[in-house]
């Protein structure tokens, strides 16, 4: 049975004892344990979170026939290496990788507020019930993290570089399942991962200071046998294993060749993609790249000209690199924002050529880990205003992700008030959905 039948109190107790409750295990080891009965196709997920909501018309659902009121300057979509599939003209590198990913053009939920839309897309739950559900990363950290036998020193759920902050990612599961946010900027050298990589403190000084700390720990000395303090000491040991040991070197991007780094683009996003690949290679089951800057109400097309090439280079290289290393078959890449952007350009002041929030129809991209590449699922009308074929709701996507991650169909989440709630949101018969992404799942 799933590990979740363990009670909350048990979880707390183990946490106090400092064994299973640790965020980090003792050794860096690849891969999470597959739950019984179900084979996991995906060992890891890289979520590219497009904070603010990217325009579907300017990326993966171009509409040149709609005219310049809709597509602005981007009137010439480009063909891809998949026959019949066109994408936005600012994404030429991604066009060459289109056989590796599938485009979900039927995404819809109808909500235009950031908070609620973010919550819906990231948790796959409808809002309004007033329970806060965990997002996909927190569920992964529960089913593929330490509770499931993950032994890595690097936390199982990493956010590059800051949490998205609209709601509590772990929801009612509690802070143990929250992501570890790296802080710092992977484009800089060194990538100063908060807590793990310290500027200008030599290893010698780290060790001498630690010695001083131990010698001055008078209360600790007065209370040998304290279980509380033993738990803290165990955490300190894990922390120093990361500070002084080899595990933290996964964050040292300078060990990559210049060519490898250049290939991803020397941008925060590009280097985050490279970082994500390295983390997945080390066995980390869930990495979110929190990619800000897509809430483009004003100066929309200027922003697109600047940002889309970054996106194109980083994401295309990620597909290519994962594929070359044989990691794409076991790694899901999930690209999505909370919604799309208004197909009709807002030409009047104060927007002067911006795009609004748009939850009625938008695009997402999935690849790898059991998702087939080279397909387009769903379609919007000639102006990208509404889904006309194959609606895809957020819960259709999250349920598909959970299935490929090998989470058993009857797995449950334990609510702090004692209820057991099915992990799969689409098991709720009253929830209207378009169904899991069977057409592209192997």
């Amino acid at each position: 049975m799933s590990r979740l039948s363990v009670s909350r109190r048990d979880v707390l107790r183990t946490a106090v004892c400092g064994t299973a409750g640790m965020m980090f295990g003792s050794r860096l080891a690849a891969a999470a344990v597959s739950p019984k009965r179900v084979m996991a196709k995906a060992k890891a997920v890289i979520q590219i979170w497009m904070w603010g909501g990217p325009s579907h018309l300017d990326t993966f659902d171009p509409k040149p026939e709609a005219g310049s009121d809709y597509c602005g300057p981007f009137e010439n979509p480009i063909s891809t290496n998949v026959d019949g599939t066109r994408i936005g003209e600012m994404l030429p590198l991604l066009a060459k990788q289109a056989d590796k990913y599938s485009i979900l053009r039927g995404m819809t939920h109808g909500v235009n507020g950031h908070e609620t839309a973010s919550y819906m897309v990231q948790t796959g739950r409808k809002s309004g019930g007033r329970d806060v559900y965990p997002c996909v990363g927190a569920v992964a950290s529960l089913f593929k993290g330490y509770d499931a036998g993950y032994k890595g020193l690097i936390p199982p759920y990493i956010v590059l570089t800051s949490p998205q902050g609209r709601f509590s990612e772990a929801g009612f599961l509690g802070s143990r399942y929250r992501p570890f946010a790296t802080g710092g900027n992977p484009k800089m050298t060194p990538f100063a991962v908060e807590g793990i990589v310290a500027r200008g403190i030599t290893e010698k000084r780290q060790r001498s200071r630690r010695q001083l700390l131990h010698s001055l720990d008078s209360l600790g000395h007065a209370m040998p046998g304290s279980r509380e303090f033993e738990a803290l000491d165990a955490c300190e040991q894990k922390a120093y294993d990361l500070i002084l040991g080899d595990a933290g070197k996964v964050f040292d991007l300078s060990t990559e060749s210049d060519a490898a780094r250049d290939r991803y683009g020397r941008t925060t996003f590009g280097q985050s993609c490279l970082m994500a690949r390295r983390l997945v290679e080390e066995g980390v089951p869930y990495v979110t790249i929190n990619y800000k800057g897509w809430d483009t109400h004003k100066k929309h097309f200027e922003s697109m000209r600047r940002q889309l090439p970054e996106l194109d280079q980083g994401m295309a290289t990620l597909f290519e690199d994962l594929s070359e290393r044989g990691l794409l078959d076991s790694t899901i890449v999930w690209w999505s924002g909370e919604f799309g952007r208004g197909p009709k350009i807002q030409k009047d002041p104060p927007w002067n050529g911006g795009r609004s929030h748009y939850g009625k129809a938008f695009s997402a991209v999935v690849a790898g880990g059991g998702f087939k590449g080279g397909h387009v699922v769903g379609a919007t009308d000639e102006k990208g205003l509404a889904v006309v074929d194959r609606e895809i709701y957020p819960w259709d996507v999250t349920s598909s992700l959970y299935e490929l991650m090998g989470i058993p169909p009857d797995a449950t989440l334990r609510h702090p008030q004692g209820r057991l709630i099915p992990v799969y949101p689409d098991l709720d018969p009253e929830l209207k959905g378009g169904g899991r992404l069977r057409e592209i799942m192997t």
Partner: protein, 534 residues
Amino acid sequence: MRTPQITAMRHGGLEVVIAVLFCVVSLGAASASAPVRPFERAGDAPPRHRGDELVMDSLAARGIAPAAICSDAVFLRRVYLDVIGTIPTPKEARAFLGSDLPGKRQTLISQLLARDEFADYWALKWGDLLRVKSEFPINLWPNAAQAYHRWVRTALAENMPYDQFAREILVASGSNFRVPQVNFYRSMQSKTPEAISKGVALGFMGVRPEKWPAARMAELAGFFSKVGFKATSEWKEEIVYFDPWKTNAVSFSVTIFPDGAPATLKRGQDPRAAFADWLIRPENPWFAPNAVNRVWFWLMGRGIVHQPDDFREDNPPRNPELLEWLSRELVNADYDLKHIYRLVLNSRTYQQSSIPASEHPDAVPLFAHYPTRRLDAEVLIDAICQITGTTETYTSATPEPFTFIPEDQRSIELMDGSISSPFLDMFGRPPRDTGLLSERSNLPTPAQRLHLLNSSHIRDKFEKSKKLRTMLQSAKKPREAITLLYMTILSRRPTEDEVDLVMAHQAKHRMDRRRTALDLAWALINTKEFLYRH
């Protein structure tokens, strides 16, 4: 019936003697006879009141030796953290430690209970319980959350009697912006009568009615089946009111109170008022016990009923007489909660050392020592900011109305659970989704350890601290600098051994004074003594 301590000891008879011998043998230096410096003081203290006697009786009956009395330095630190969520300044620490006045502990308790930070800190705790939060899933909206927080804080600052506090919340009607306490009805998991009654039972009875039989749960929900909600033309305003014609998905009747007493409503009476009047009667089996048990939990780290918000027949109080005595004290003091704080804080039980004198499994649930707990997230970052003279930046995720948080605002003053920081989240600040006391997590994690040991966030606070630099420049000798840092960070003087250790560290690594001071400050904020209430 009064049972003096000495009688109880005699009752314990041989068991006590054996227990004491056992302690001496097994714990050696930690036994009651030799106080552990600098955390304990010599000599025992007599019971302060009936509550202490009841604790001592229950310990003696099981042969559990109580811990020694904590030192003045430990008491100072502890009572500041427990009462105002703030560490003492070096000046305050010097004044208290240097005083020979008799009853100085009692005087300090009274002073702290009267400070502004008392209301700040307890409004934070009550904000957790009452789910004061503007965003998902409570969705109070920023100005309603702020109005509600201000109402709660004012009630605490003015020491509103607790029965009045509960009644004002429960019978409130009006606008969420103008009658702040109506936000209680807006801060539930949903607005159904069942959900509201669960929130009421959790908050004011310490009960989780989902564990009750369905029929009993429905009887309770009946009292909240006529709570109406309506919007106005003002953006995000909502009126909460008594709606006698309200219909629900299922129909409820109001016939019986949770204790089985019959309920008869007058014509046109708001059933919430009938409920509130029943709730705050002195003989109500939940109201006062829940209130005193929660204060006991907050100050003593563990409820007499534990978990403190899970009163039920199969989870009885470990010391029922103690709970009964405290409840009676609250009722007799006209629901003055500060009276309960005073009783607990002045007790021998509260002033015990955190170093256990017994390894008996009942030592913890029967309060044989003061339990160590990691500082709350907000208290911890405030303490680091106070030491370094730095501030934290807080912003609201809701852009309109934009909530401006002044740079020098302390974290314990944050009015809205939606306003947070990576630090507060990492250190277990509750999301305020459910109102359960267990939402706040003070468990240590490796990520927290990494952050305090090695993050640029904390490191910059110390390396760039003008306050520390100025303070250290005033020290003429190294020893003086060491003492200043100890007083600022741990609120006590260093022992001779500790001074020697620091001097040896400096000599061994041939460090300058600034570097030594930074290393020492870094080490001290990472000690258990700093990180834990003890």
